[in-house]
Amino acid sequence: MLAHLIRVLGGDFHLAEDALMDAIATALQRWPGDGVPNRPAAWLTTAARRKALDRLRRSSTRTQYAPELTLIATLEAMPEQTEQSDIPDEQLKLFFTCCHPALAVDAQVALTLRTLGGLSTPEIAAAFLVPVPTMAQRLVRAKKKIKVAKIPYRVPPRDELSERLTGVLKALYLVFNEGYSAHSGDRLVRVELCSEAIRLGRVLVRLLPEEPEVRGLLALMLLQDSRRDARTDADGVLISLDEQDRSLWHAAQIEQGLTLIQTALEERRPGPYQVQAAIAAVHAESASDAQTDWAQIAMLYDALLRLVPSAVVALNRAVALSLAGQLTVALQFINELEHDLADYQPFHAARADVLRRTGQLDAAAAAYDRAIELSSTPAERTWLVRQRDRLAQ
């Protein structure tokens, strides 16, 4: 379709790309509600041609190009054409273009939600707690950069695909986490972000069936999201995993997530999202917190640490080890992380918990105090204070 447009627009690749992107964005917004037209390719080509015409008319009033005026006349005279539909291809190109590394991450996220997610600018602004004009500016700048710096509108070549896919998955997971995390803000909007991220994840799985990490990410999101109704109490306070009412977990979603991660792992090309999904799967399959196989989770964190050597992952591994009963080793690992994670609230909370399990209640209380100092939301603070107060019992 693009090739056809480029030809029709006298070799103006830019113009064709812009016009087609506009047409697709409109299609992705309208078709879910209006229904897919009988000849989607023809619809898109016609829409793209119209948008190209609009652009040419707008620019020609400023520059008076004879060639452009001729092109306009030619385009206006053209009859409708049919062409092979390659819409899935266009979606994939959009994913990679929106998440191009030359764009700032918050721009990638905004652009993905706007063009692929079909969210309006005010909706995206509300979701990220940013004023609408700021979000609008962010989108305008990002589109301008794509155009002026000539970020190519394509699926990256084979040798770059893996690396670029990492960027796409990261942006998608950011959208999910924005909705999943316990920040203040409109709860309904947050829920929409999670379901949007999952929906886009499904699209990506369809488009890239040969990439296990995509399935891994979708599995991870489904499994985490399956717990959404058990995560907060009536007052909006966070309920930790060990205390959640597991009957409120969404079983069908868990089933989907488990199937996805199983088939992904069979490819034997592990990656960080697959490992995280596997960890979530262990939780999802445990009838209660007491029955959780923490030793297996600790091993999975070992694997994750090899793929993503980060202090936070190391901390999570230490916590799993402590819950598997290996308190001495866990405390040792935690103490080693003190320098890297001194300002990280979960570090102090984790340390407090392990200290409690080893009977060092005073040290545990001190650690909770430090965590409380570092807490960033009322929900977090309430939970930490409660944990500390329980030490006295």
Binding site: Y65, A66, H100, A102, V148, A149, K150, P152, P156, E160
Partner: protein
């Protein structure tokens, strides 16, 4: 589509010896660009110690000894390349020896309408 690759390096990272040692890499890089048909132009600049900054303000022309602003990384040279798209420009920027220790700023050359 033309891009300028602006080469920014921190003189603290270099010595005359290290620069000498890197010369073969630079020659090789330039050769690769030329053979790929991407090279439009390239130059190294003398150090910022040799720079003079000129400003016209309120009818006066002032001259300052040194660069437009004192920065840790300074402009040391450029490559002007002609490639298909930003991805290709970024690939070339990453191959440049300066990218290892300094920063390569990749900027599209503005395309202005040519009058008939």
């Amino acid at each position: 589509m033309q891009y300028m690759l602006l080469i920014y390096t921190d003189p603290a990272n270099e010595t005359p010896e290290s620069r000498q040692a890197q010369m073969p890499r630079w020659f090789d890089y330039t050769r690769q660009l030329r053979e790929a048909g991407a090279l439009v132009g390239a130059d190294a600049l003398e150090s910022v110690a040799t720079a003079t900054s000129v400003r016209n303000r309120n009818g006066d022309t002032t001259h300052t000894d040194g660069p437009f602003a004192e920065t840790k990384e300074r402009l040391g040279g450029y490559y002007l390349i002609d490639v298909e798209n930003l991805d290709d420009a970024l690939k070339w920027a990453a191959k440049c020896p300066a990218a290892d220790t300094g920063t390569m700023e990749v900027r599209p050359i503005m395309v202005l309408p040519t009058p008939d």
